[in-house]
Symmetry: C2
């Protein structure tokens, strides 16, 4: 029987723009917050898993150079938007393996003004047979339109996701933006790729988040409020008869959800909150269905009925989500873990989901990787 | 008690230059060779760990797009020159964790003409207080000169490492170069950074290598010749009162060796062969001492007495080493594992170390990461 795994410390910096700092300085700040939260020091940490997508392939070592080089194993991982959550998952496996009692995962990114629209220097798809668009606003615009066509979902319903998440972010002092955006403002903001307007797209930004994971024995020594990792799933795209004009953004989340619910012995009805990958407003509604929070085609009604608001049936993205908390790529997956952890401990302040016992954190990266972690107190 | 881990299949392509191919095509070729060697198919593999340093952060998924997208977890790792061996180590941890029975590690790199002399776009060290050189030929030249100063090691002794490894490579059809280089040629080739001449520096090149790892139970189903991973160590630089002009290239290997020997319950005298990180000829002699193959200051005499030749007391780099087999960064760490595996199975052809039972694979990357794996049949 492999080890149970607990989270005993988390920390993140306010997402935003820090042009005067280096990415490893941001990472170091998050690490120090997590250490303080766990009541341990860097010398206690036995291995470090670090996720960063665009600045450096040696992000973990650079962070240790800032705050304490202890000679421990450092593994740098990348997995598109799921980079941070993959670092978290590898840290989880390290505890599961029985080789370590206490390890850390950290995720960082400093996107500055780079945006996500530029083509990478080496294109991710083969030069052969490229049709349609690989640009994220295009992909998630098309995915929304497909949902409209199949189920009659409306532009306003997608826009309401942005209204909700921006509203939630007003209660999160670590969110990049903390400003309400009424429906009219969302609909009237600049169109990026129909149906997503500017306020329905996540911003670029800088950020860092860290989490400390332990074996059960070690966790009980350190805290009276451990948060247990009861499921960890990672999927990539299965082969499909590929529609070259329209990437599939649903299948890998559905498969990860199936695996995660099975591992945890829990279902969507058991969840008290969800942090899901709302890189665009359209994505959030699709993932309600992909995660089984509602039936097929029911996502539009779910947002109309405010079921995913704080205080609703199943609050989604009470942190503000990627749309308003921000989405510094490598940091996002670990930040989701921080958010769920705070709720399960009852430490989420004004946005606390009362009595939360089980939460789900979901991240997808196209190209492709999807992680789902289910945490339980 | 965590799972024992075995290697049941390995494969690598000939290292060289493949300007007409994409890096994922090279990776796919190595993967197919490893699958064939293990007698399994892609659908049998439960997780993929992929190492690539410079071409793409999504190397694993791109390989699966070539040969079979099965929806499995894919983790992309980077750790400087230890990128491939870190992918292998994470695959090892995945089996140790008990979550998987059979996983794959793959390492790839396509260096083309890029060389290692160019500064990265974002410098790896802080802009503050940079002195000396961070260029690899400079660092390893200085390290050699320090050894000369302390122990009287000679230029010729360092050059003999290149003579040996180029000689060994004439027996390895997968080596990038397979040509003997007599001592006179080595000494008379173009000086790069004293004491290393051109023939004492590893070439740039393209390559790919893959290995399939299993739980003990699964390994026994698949093969009568499993190769056991009896130690896996990964270290980063511990904090030292830093000499800003002279990076320490010894400490992290020494610490990794200590850990690996302890894990395996073996010592240097138990080894039948070693594949170590001879990125420059100077490095090889230093690592004889760092790995405990000889006493302090005795490395020069060791090469004079040909103790590390095939047929000698402890053959080192019978594959040709980085100096002649080549060093496509992400591929190197997995290729070392392939080489040791072939020897332990008695399948290394003309360069076979007769009766080999235990082998050690060592890789270091500055910045920093050092892996040591000890394999046993």
């Amino acid at each position: 029987m492999s080890e149970d795994v607990a989270i005993v410390g988390v920390g993140m910096i306010k997402f935003g723009r820090y042009p005067e700092k280096r990415v490893e300085e941001l990472g170091a700040e998050a690490v120090v917050l997590a250490l303080k939260d766990a009541g341990v020091e860097m010398k206690d940490i036995q291995a470090l898993y670090s996720g960063n997508l665009y600045q450096t392939s040696m992000s973990g070592q650079r962070i240790l150079q800032q705050i304490g080089q202890t000679g421990i194993p450092v593994v740098n991982v990348a997995n598109a938007c799921a980079t941070g959550s993959t670092a978290f998952r590898e840290a989880y496996l390290a505890i599961k393996s029985g080789l370590y009692d206490i390890v850390m995962a950290v995720g960082t990114e400093q996107m500055g003004k780079q945006g996500l629209l530029g083509a990478p220097s080496d294109p991710a798809t083969s030069p052969e047979g490229v049709l349609g668009t690989g640009l994220m606003p295009g992909v998630f615009g098309m995915a929304g339109m497909e949902h409209m066509r199949k189920y009659g979902t409306t532009w306003e319903q997608f826009a309401k996701v942005a209204v909700k998440n921006h509203f939630h972010s007003t209660m999160n002092p670590l969110a990049q933006y903390q400003k309400e955006t009424p429906l009219e403002d969302v609909l009237n903001s600049r169109m990026i790729a129909y149906p997503n307007t500017l306020l329905m797209c996540c911003p670029t930004g800088d950020g860092a988040a860290a989490a400390i994971l332990c074996s059960a024995k070690k966790a009980r020594e350190l805290t009276s409020k451990p948060v247990w990792v009861v499921a960890s799933a990672l999927t990539s795209d299965p082969w499909t008869q590929r529609d070259l004009t329209f990437p599939d953004i649903n299948t890998l989340t559905r498969e990860a959800a199936r695996q995660a619910y099975e591992q945890a012995g829990l279902g969507p009805k058991d969840l008290d909150l969800v942090e899901l990958h709302d890189c665009f407003a359209t994505a959030e509604l699709l993932h309600y269905e992909n995660l089984g929070l509602c039936g097929e085609g029911e996502a539009g009604r779910m947002i109309d009925e405010k079921k995913t608001y704080l205080g609703g049936e199943i609050p989604v993205n009470v942190s503000g989500g990627l749309l308003s908390k921000g989405h510094p790529l490598g940091a996002t997956g670990v930040a989701n873990i921080c958010e769920i952890t705070w709720h399960l401990r009852g430490e989420a302040g004004r946005r606390q989901v009362e009595g939360a016992k089980v939460g789900l954190a979901h991240v997808i990266g196209l190209g492709s990787a999807c992680t789902i972690h289910i945490l339980q107190r």
